[in-house]
C-alpha cells in the first residue's frame, strides 16, 4: 500500500501515533473512536504491507475455507473515513522519547503527543542448526501463509514443530492441502497449556486417525539440508524428511523497540492498569505487554485491555484488572474448550464425565463450591456456561450433581436431585445406550431379584459395557429397593466404578494400549488417576502387551523406579541377585568393596539367602550397580512386585538326606523367572527332601523333592497371616517341575488382582480352579508357559546395567545444587 499523506499540520489536536496495525492496535483505535471520534489525530504504522486483518483467521485461509478479503477487519475506506493515516509496510525502527518522535526503517520521522505500542509478538524460533535454511518458516502472518500455500502446491512432506494450537492448525491446513504432515511436540501431550492429559490424548488419537503423524516427546536436534530444508533430525537420531518446516513452538512479546527506548520491560512491556508504560506519554497494549506480571497470548484479554486503554485516553479511567481466559477452539474440526485453572490442587474437586462412544470428555474443577476451571473435549456446547459461572464466582453447590451434564439438564425443571430426575423418566426411556436397555427393563430386572449393580449388569446388561450409565442404574436400584441394595464389588479405587477384574477384562477385550486410553474408555472420574490405580493399570498393560507396552515410570512406586528399596531415612538398600542362594569369592569381594567404598553402615543376610547392603545414597546407586555388575551380579528385584528369590537347600550334591539336586533346580528356575513383573512379590523355594530346609511350603511356589520326583506346592505365605501351601500335584522330572512353575506364574500374572499375593488369590478362586487350568488342560498349561517365556524374553534385561550405563540418570542426580555462597553445579 502507498504511503498516505500524513494529516495536515493545521490539525492542532493531540497526535496519537500507533505502532502496530494488528488486532490490538486497530481495536484500541476503534475503542477510542467509539468514545470520542474527534479527540485525537491518529497515525498508524504497520510492518506488513496491508490493512488490518484478523490474524486468528489465518488458519481458515491456509485450510482453504476463507480468502484474505474475508478476514480483513478494517479496509482502506475505514482508515479514510476516520481520518487515520496508515503507514503500511514501513515498520517503526526507533523511538526518541526526548524529542517525542518515531522514525521508520525508510527514515520517515513523525512526532507524537501520545504513543501507543502494539507490536504484538514474534514467533519463537528454536536455535537449532539449519533454522535459517530456505523452507523453514513460522506461522504468524499472511506472508507465512503464502509460503505454505506455495509449498503445498508442490506437494511432498511437511514437518510442523510444536503441538500447540498454532502448530496443529498449520498441520491441519497443510494436510488438507495434500501434504504428508508430521507434528513434533516436545511435551508428552498435545496442547498441554489448554488441555489436560486426558483431552490431549484424545486429540492425538483423532489427529492420527486423520492421517497426521504425531510424535510427542520429540526433541529437535537440527534441521538438515544444504541449500534448502531437506529434513528434521531429532535428538534420538530419527530423521524425518521434509520439504517444508513450520516452527510453531511459541511466541514472545515483541519488546525490542520499547527496550531500546529505555522503557521498563520484563517479559513484556510493563504497563499499569491504564495500559501506561513507565513513560506517561507512551501506552502499550496487546500481546507485547506485561500487566500485573501476566502476559497474554489470546484475543479476549486484548479486547479488555483496549477498553481500559481507550477509557484512559478520554480521561474516564476504568482500569484493567487482568483477564480470566478461556479457549474455545476447533482444532482440525474437533471442538475443544478450556478455561481457568484446571491443574487441580489443594481443596479442588474434579467432576469428570467421559463418554467413550461419542468421544467426549468433560471436566469441571470446583473449589469451595465454585467453578475454578473446565476442560471440554468433543462437546463444548456448555463451555460458555461454565465460563460464565467461573467468572461470576457463582456458588454451584445447588447444581453440583447435574453440573457436568450441562446447562440444559441442570436447569431443567429445577430437578436438582438426580434420583428425582431418574424417577421422573418414563418406563421406555433408554438407560443404557450401549445395550439398548430401557428404564422399565432395568426396574423389572431389579424386581425379579437383581439387587446389586453386578446382578443388574449380569442379567439385563445395563451399564455392563462402557459403564457411563452406572450412576443411573444405581439410582434405579435405590429407588426400587431402598435400603436393600447390595453393594457391588469393591472398586479399584475412588477414580472408577469398576473393580480390578472388570478393568482387566476390558483392557484385553478392547485391546487398550495406554493408561490414558483405559481412563478414557472406562470413564475414570479423575484426570490422571491416583497412586492406587496408576501402578495397577501400568502392570495390567505391561502384562497384556509384553514387548509392546512402554512402561510408565511415573506410575511406578519409587522402589521400582529406582530399582532399590527406600528406607525410612531416605537412603536405599541394594540387594544383588544370588542365583539359588549361591555365591563366590568374586561376588563377596565386590560386595565388601561396595560396602567400604560407599560407606554403607550395615550389611544383612536376608531371609531369601542373599546380602542386603543398607544406607546407599540415591545419587550413588548407579555407581554401586556398576561395581556390582562388574563382578557379574544383576539386580535382585528385592524392591519389586516381581520374582524375588529362589531359596534352596544344598540337596543331593552334599546332603546325606537329599533326594534330588535342589540347588541346581533352584538356580535353573531363578534363571527362567527373574525379572518378571507380577501382581505382587513372588517367592520360590526348592527343598531337597521332605525335611524342607528351604521352607518351600510357605512360598508362593514351593518344590519339595522326594525320591520319586517333585511335589509342587502353591499359595504359601510367611507374612502376617501364615499360610501353608496347597499341594498342586506331583511330577516326575525337573523339566515338568519347571514347566508347571512357569505356567503357574503366568496364570497368577494374568488373573490375580494387583497387590494380591498368591495366598489370597488361591483362597478366592479355589485350588480346584488352579488345578483345572494347570492339570486338566495340557494345551492350556503349555500356552500359559509359552506366554510366560515370551514375556520373559523382553523382561530379562538387567535394570541396573541399563542405569549404570547412564540410562535415566536424571532419576539420581539433583537438578541443581545450592550453597549459601552461591556455588551452583
Amino acid at each position: 500500500m502507498e504511503h498516505r499523506p500524513l494529516s495536515p499540520e493545521a490539525d492542532t489536536r493531540d497526535h496519537l501515533v500507533v505502532i502496530g496495525n494488528g488486532m490490538a492496535g486497530c481495536r484500541a483505535v476503534e475503542e477510542l473512536l467509539a468514545r470520542d471520534p474527534a479527540r485525537y489525530r491518529v497515525t498508524i504504522f504497520g510492518a506488513e504491507p496491508r490493512v488490518n486483518y484478523n490474524r486468528i483467521m489465518l488458519s481458515p485461509v491456509l485450510a482453504g475455507e476463507k480468502g484474505f478479503d474475508d478476514i480483513v477487519i478494517n479496509d482502506a475506506e475505514w482508515y479514510a473515513a476516520n481520518g487515520i493515516a496508515l503507514v503500511a509496510g514501513d515498520p517503526v525502527a526507533a523511538i526518541d522519547r526526548g524529542a517525542k518522535t518515531v522514525t521508520t526503517r525508510s527514515g520517515v520521522t513523525e512526532s507524537y503527543d501520545r504513543l501507543l505500542i502494539a507490536t504484538g509478538s514474534d514467533p519463537f524460533i528454536i536455535p537449532v542448526p539449519g533454522k535459517d535454511l530456505p523452507g523453514v518458516i513460522a506461522f504468524r502472518d499472511m506472508d507465512d501463509v503464502g509460503t505454505m500455500l506455495a509449498a503445498a502446491e508442490r506437494g511432498g512432506s511437511a514437518v510442523v514443530i510444536g503441538g500447540g494450537l498454532l502448530g496443529l492448525e498449520a498441520a491441519h491446513g497443510l494436510s488438507l492441502r495434500g501434504m504428508k504432515v508430521t507434528v513434533l511436540h516436545l511435551m508428552p501431550t498435545l496442547m498441554e497449556r489448554q488441555l489436560d492429559e486426558a483431552a490431549g490424548w484424545l486429540l492425538k488419537q483423532a489427529l492420527e486417525a486423520r492421517g497426521q503423524t504425531i510424535l510427542t516427546g520429540a526433541d529437535t536436534a537440527e534441521i538438515t539440508g544444504d541449500t534448502k530444508v531437506e529434513g528434521v533430525r531429532l535428538k534420538d537420531g530419527t530423521l524425518i524428511p521434509a520439504d517444508l518446516v513450520v516452527m510453531a513452538v511459541g511466541i514472545r512479546p515483541a519488546t525490542g523497540l520499547a527496550r531500546d527506548a529505555g522503557l521498563a520491560v520484563g517479559r513484556g512491556i510493563q504497563v499499569d492498569d491504564h495500559m501506561v508504560t513507565s513513560d506517561p506519554a507512551i501506552l502499550a497494549v496487546g500481546e507485547c505487554v506485561e500487566h500485573d506480571r501476566q502476559v497474554y497470548g489470546l484475543v479476549a484479554p486484548l479486547w479488555d485491555m483496549c477498553r481500559s486503554l481507550a477509557d484512559g485516553l478520554v480521561e474516564k479511567p476504568s482500569g484493567y484488572r487482568g483477564s480470566v481466559t478461556s479457549t474455545k477452539l476447533k482444532v482440525s474440526g474437533i471442538d475443544v474448550f478450556s478455561a481457568g485453572d484446571f491443574s487441580g490442587g489443594d481443596g479442588c474437586e474434579d467432576i469428570v464425565l467421559r463418554d467413550a462412544a461419542r468421544g467426549v470428555y468433560k471436566r469441571v474443577v470446583l473449589k469451595d463450591d465454585r467453578i475454578v476451571g473446565a476442560v471440554l473435549y468433543g462437546d463444548t456446547a456448555d463451555g460458555s456456561w461454565y465460563f460464565d459461572l467461573l467468572k461470576k464466582q457463582e456458588d454451584v453447590s445447588g447444581l453440583r450433581d447435574l453440573l457436568i451434564f450441562g446447562q440444559a439438564f441442570a436447569a431443567g425443571g429445577g430437578a436438582a436431585d438426580p434420583k428425582a430426575a431418574v424417577a421422573a423418566l418414563s418406563d421406555d426411556a433408554e438407560i443404557c445406550g450401549c445395550n439398548g436397555v430401557t428404564k422399565g427393563q432395568v426396574v423389572s430386572c431389579i424386581a425379579k431379584g437383581a439387587c446389586s449393580l453386578d446382578a443388574v449388569r449380569a442379567t439385563c446388561k445395563a451399564s455392563a459395557s462402557c459403564g457411563s450409565c452406572t450412576g443411573l442404574v444405581e439410582n434405579l436400584l435405590a429407588l426400587t429397593l431402598g435400603d436393600e441394595v447390595q453393594s457391588g464389588p469393591k472398586t479399584m479405587c475412588q477414580c472408577t466404578s469398576f473393580g480390578h477384574d472388570d478393568v482387566r477384562r476390558e483392557i484385553v477385550a478392547q485391546a487398550m494400549r495406554s493408561i490414558p486410553e483405559v481412563m478414557q474408555k472406562l470413564h475414570w472420574t479423575t484426570p490422571d488417576g491416583c497412586s492406587s490405580c496408576r501402578p495397577a493399570l501400568n502392570y495390567y498393560l505391561l502384562c497384556a502387551l509384553p514387548g509392546e507396552y512402554e512402561d510408565d515410570q511415573q506410575s511406578r512406586f519409587v522402589n521400582e523406579r529406582l530399582h532399590a528399596n527406600i528406607q525410612k531415612d531416605g537412603t536405599y538398600s541394594v540387594v544383588p541377585r544370588m542365583w539359588g542362594g549361591l555365591t563366590n569369592p568374586r561376588e563377596l569381594r565386590a560386595i565388601a568393596d561396595v560396602v567400604e567404598k560407599y560407606d554403607a553402615p550395615m550389611v544383612k543376610v536376608t531371609g531369601g539367602q542373599r546380602l542386603d547392603i543398607f544406607g546407599i545414597k540415591k545419587e550413588d546407586l548407579p555407581a554401586v550397580w556398576a561395581d556390582l555388575n562388574a563382578a557379574g551380579m544383576v539386580s535382585g528385584h528385592a524392591y519389586g512386585k516381581a520374582l524375588r528369590t529362589v531359596k534352596t537347600c544344598v540337596g543331593s550334591e552334599w546332603c546325606r538326606f537329599g533326594t534330588q539336586d535342589s540347588t541346581g533346580l533352584g538356580v535353573k528356575i531363578e534363571r527362567m523367572s527373574w525379572g518378571s513383573w507380577m501382581p505382587h512379590k513372588f517367592k520360590i523355594a526348592v527343598s531337597g527332601c521332605p525335611r524342607n530346609c528351604a521352607e518351600a511350603t510357605i512360598k508362593d511356589f514351593g518344590i519339595v523333592c522326594v525320591d520319586s520326583g517333585y511335589e509342587l506346592h502353591v499359595g504359601g505365605n510367611g507374612g502376617i497371616h501364615v499360610r501353608a501351601t496347597d499341594l498342586l500335584c506331583k511330577v516326575a522330572t525337573e523339566q515338568e517341575a519347571m514347566d508347571h512353575c512357569a505356567a503357574f506364574i503366568q496364570l497368577y500374572r494374568e488373573e490375580a488382582r494387583y497387590l494380591e499375593r498368591t495366598a489370597p488369590w488361591i483362597e478366592r478362586v479355589g485350588l480346584a480352579y488352579v488345578q483345572s487350568r494347570l492339570l486338566e488342560d495340557d494345551a492350556g498349561r503349555e500356552a500359559l508357559r509359552a506366554r510366560f517365556l515370551f514375556s520373559q524374553s523382553f523382561s530379562q534385561d538387567d535394570p541396573w546395567a541399563q542405569r549404570a550405563g547412564g540410562a535415566e540418570a536424571e532419576h539420581h542426580a539433583p537438578m541443581a545444587r545450592f550453597t549459601p555462597q552461591e556455588e551452583w553445579a
Binding site: 511435551m187 491443574s343 490442587g345 490422571d528 531415612d569 536424571e810 541443581a816 545444587r817
Partner: protein, 112 residues
C-alpha cells in the same frame, strides 16, 4: 544472577508427573514437581509425617503420595490431604522463558 530468584534449570528437565530435587548445603533438599498439566511446584523434600522424600512419590492431580506411608500432600500448599494432618513448607516458584526459578529467601531458610 537475579537477587530474589534462583535459576535451577529448564522446565523440561523435570519429568511430567514427576519430580527433581535441588540440593541445599546444610539443609533439606527442595523437591520441584511438575504435574501432568505442566504446572511446577516446589516443597521442602520432607513429608510432615515421618520425613519421607516427597520427591520420590507418585504425582497425581495436584498432589504427591509420600513413598513411605502414602500420605497425600498438596503441591500448592504443602498441606496433608484427607484425614491426615500436617504441612510441609512450600517454596515459591515461577517460570520465565522456560526456566524454573525458585525463591531465594525460602532456599536460604531451608539451608539455615
Amino acid at each position: 544472577m537475579n537477587a530474589d530468584w534462583l535459576d535451577i534449570g529448564w522446565v523440561d528437565q523435570i519429568p511430567a508427573r514427576g519430580s527433581r530435587t535441588v540440593q541445599v548445603a546444610g539443609g533439606d533438599d527442595i523437591a520441584v514437581f511438575r504435574t501432568a498439566e505442566g504446572k511446577v511446584f516446589a516443597l521442602l523434600d520432607r513429608c510432615p509425617h515421618k520425613h519421607g522424600r516427597l520427591s520420590q512419590g507418585i504425582v497425581h492431580g495436584g498432589a504427591v503420595a509420600c513413598p513411605l506411608h502414602n500420605w497425600r500432600i498438596s503441591l500448592a500448599t504443602g498441606e496433608a490431604l484427607g484425614e491426615d494432618k500436617g504441612c510441609t513448607p512450600t517454596v515459591p516458584v515461577k517460570i520465565d522463558g522456560g526456566r524454573v526459578l525458585i525463591c531465594r529467601a525460602s532456599v536460604l531458610k531451608a539451608a539455615a
